[in-house]
């Protein structure tokens, strides 16, 4: 499922046209993105949370050539699955 599918499903579920559904989906995703970029923790109950983690610089290797490379410090968001969703997906497999 991609963004377009979400927009179509949302439009059908809440009975609005696609234009409004698209604005809604873009606004929701944008809100989450902006908060992550601003190093703000995002928590959606029952779904999960995003936190920005900082990684220090390290010396790594190019896996193809074996050449040593300097990896600069970076920030990456970490997604922690919410309890409810985790259990939903887990139970599925039993």
């Amino acid at each position: 499922m991609n963004k377009m599918d979400i927009i179509n499903k949302l439009a059908a579920d809440i009975n609005v046209n696609q234009k409004i559904a698209k604005i809604a989906v873009d606004t929701i995703i944008d809100s989450v993105k902006k908060a992550i970029i601003n190093n703000e923790r995002v928590e959606i109950r029952g779904f999960g949370s995003f936190t920005l983690r900082e990684y220090k610089a390290y010396k790594g290797r190019n896996p193809k050539s074996g050449e040593m490379v300097n990896v600069e410090p970076k920030k990456l968001p970490y997604f922690k699955v919410g309890k409810e969703l985790k259990e939903m997906i887990w139970k599925d497999s039993i």
């Binding site: 949302l10 959606i44 939903m88």
Partner: protein, 95 residues
Amino acid sequence: MTKIDIVTNLYEKLGFSKRECANIVDTFFEIIKDTLEKDDNVKISGFGNFFVRKKKARRGRNPQTGEEIKITERQVLSFRLSQVLKDEINNKSKR
């Protein structure tokens, strides 16, 4: 940031009532959850992908007691960040 902040942003953008906006935000996350529960992946361009991974049964240890335990087969949710957002966070978008 929590759901309420997202609802407020949506309220300012759409001009719908707060109640309607809350309903939209809830429905959005429900759609994603339902999709993942059906083992289908969710790809959001410019943000990232959510996908369900199957993990095989394996032996593990209780880290506190050292006791060996069986970890059953299970499915977990993973998130892979989009390269675009990765660059945006690390200010590499302007090349």
